[in-house]
Symmetry: C2
Subunit: 352 residues, 2 copies
Amino acid sequence: MSSYEIAVLPGDGIGTEVMPEALRVLDAVRAEYGTEFRYRHFDWSCETYRETGRMMPADGIDRLRDHDSILLGAVGYPGVPDHVSLWGLLLPIRREFDQYVNLRPVRLLPGVTPPVRDKAPGDIDFWVVRENTEGEYSRLGGRQGEGTPAEMVLQTAVFTRHGTDRILRYAFEFAERIGKPHVTSGTKSNGIYHSMPYWDERFRAIAAEHPQVAVDQDHIDILCARFVMSPERFDVVVASNLFGDILSDLGPGVTGTIGVAPSGNINPERRFPSTFEPVHGSAPDIAGRGVANPIGQIWSAAMMLDHLGEQDAAADVVRAIESVLGAGAVRTPDLGGTASTADLGKAIAAEI
Amino acid sequence: MSSYEIAVLPGDGIGTEVMPEALRVLDAVRAEYGTEFRYRHFDWSCETYRETGRMMPADGIDRLRDHDSILLGAVGYPGVPDHVSLWGLLLPIRREFDQYVNLRPVRLLPGVTPPVRDKAPGDIDFWVVRENTEGEYSRLGGRQGEGTPAEMVLQTAVFTRHGTDRILRYAFEFAERIGKPHVTSGTKSNGIYHSMPYWDERFRAIAAEHPQVAVDQDHIDILCARFVMSPERFDVVVASNLFGDILSDLGPGVTGTIGVAPSGNINPERRFPSTFEPVHGSAPDIAGRGVANPIGQIWSAAMMLDHLGEQDAAADVVRAIESVLGAGAVRTPDLGGTASTADLGKAIAAEI
Ligand SMILES: CC(C)[C@H](C(=O)O)[C@@H](O)C(=O)O
Ligand SMILES: CC(C)[C@H](C(=O)O)[C@@H](O)C(=O)O
């Protein structure tokens, strides 16, 4: 019987409300599949920051290191600047644990009305594979001439061969593994002079290693437009840190699933724990009322199960989500219903 | 009677097919409003590049300088790498002529079926104001360790006080001028460490100079999603060069108008000529068949008229476009009809 050590970080806002529902569903998985989970809870958050001036303790990364996975809620709260909360917790975890893949499904779900017309479940079903450790998210740069008319800020993006090749390779291998051998690269080599032509060059090189996988590439501007105009054309979309960030919010925007989409921040070699978290943020506007939709957190737990090797349980959780959504009897307000966070969590747990 | 010197650069692909229709409509404007246009034609294009190794002659910029405006078709053709064709023509023109505003309407038009559901003309009607001379489109950077496993590329974005403040100010003044005093800033200060917090700081400073204008800001990832989920919330969206590029393709993607949207590359002080060009590219796949939709080029000519101070004529051209689209009798294949490029151009000219 497998047993896993899970670090649980609910974070801020609705993060603390949706996390218990994911644990409830994992309890159901334990009952059904006999998989053991041992949780350690961490209350690191913007509140910690307000009390201590740090988002996590100085040895925070070390305290997380010995876990099989990290399940994260959401980070960020009014009064703490985003770049403080994120560069103090989320982004160091991604980097220290070399979680170089950010993986997010874009899928039209039963029972969810998308903003685009004429699409049915099955029409839109693809994955965004985002580079998660380098690229445009960089601390290289700074300001000069502060406070003068000549003031300027430089911001340097970093694309290494190591970092670029491994994310591209992951995308090709992932596309083969899921039986959709077709990869689209997001680029902007017509405008961004150095990094994006390099990205294209490496895309061609890694594509040549995978001749059985069909390839496409689109500049990010038209690629975003195509996410709306023809989302059915995509299977696996690979992109840099920034472009992947944009695409993996836009995709769920198109399918109406921003409130329910999950994500994995994955270290594929499993040398370090991977982090699984919903795409949505801490949503201070609705926090504290018990009405947040817990599906993003629950689906993230399913992605975690898949990563841990528990494919059957993972598929079962996704099936339970789809079945409850499809039935439509239990819906939180964002889906047009009146159910609470806990009602929806219980309904899904009951389907396992 | 006003008279204007116009530099006409059809460029590549369908650029050469849609340009004559814009000139046809300007002829109708001349007949109706008595406005004189003197054209100088330039055949600079990817073909020029293949013959001469340059996209334009060494003194190209100087040859354009003495015009009141530049009307551009589309640049780019298979076989010439994008970053060559663009950094050899389009981008130098934007920069040398300090066309620091890239302005694009996002508007649901009659007779165009958008990919989003439940929206009618009037619901979506806003402008993207994009910084057009600095930011992420930069030649600063380079490669080291070429061909080794340590290979890496740096790409540096530049945000000056001068460049940031003037585009933000333009956005606020434009919002007031068009009677929609509400500006949304596209940012990513939670992930991009130096440049985007600076962008936010300057946005706050320039907003403080315009207390009568309402402000909003969204990170680019959720902003893109909101373009799809709730496009009616926007009036004027201001963004950096890259983010503005993405948003001003995505917007027309949402309204189904990529094939018909115009853009202005504007030097507001009129110290240099401004350039007006359709959002669409050279579309090599349909070039040479006389079926391209000329509305993007014609609408660009309308934006040019507006910039030149011919507001009545400009409004008349836009009205003619909407009237022909609304009537629906003359449609090119992209709009579901069988009309030719010239048919549609003639129909619009006849409405002036
Ligand atoms: C062709 C390309 C360099 C250009 C840009 O990104 O500026 C285009 O997408 C545009 O928006 O005019
Ligand atoms: C919060 C922010 C820094 C983060 C990102 O941009 O990576 C978020 O948008 C995400 O996608 O996980």
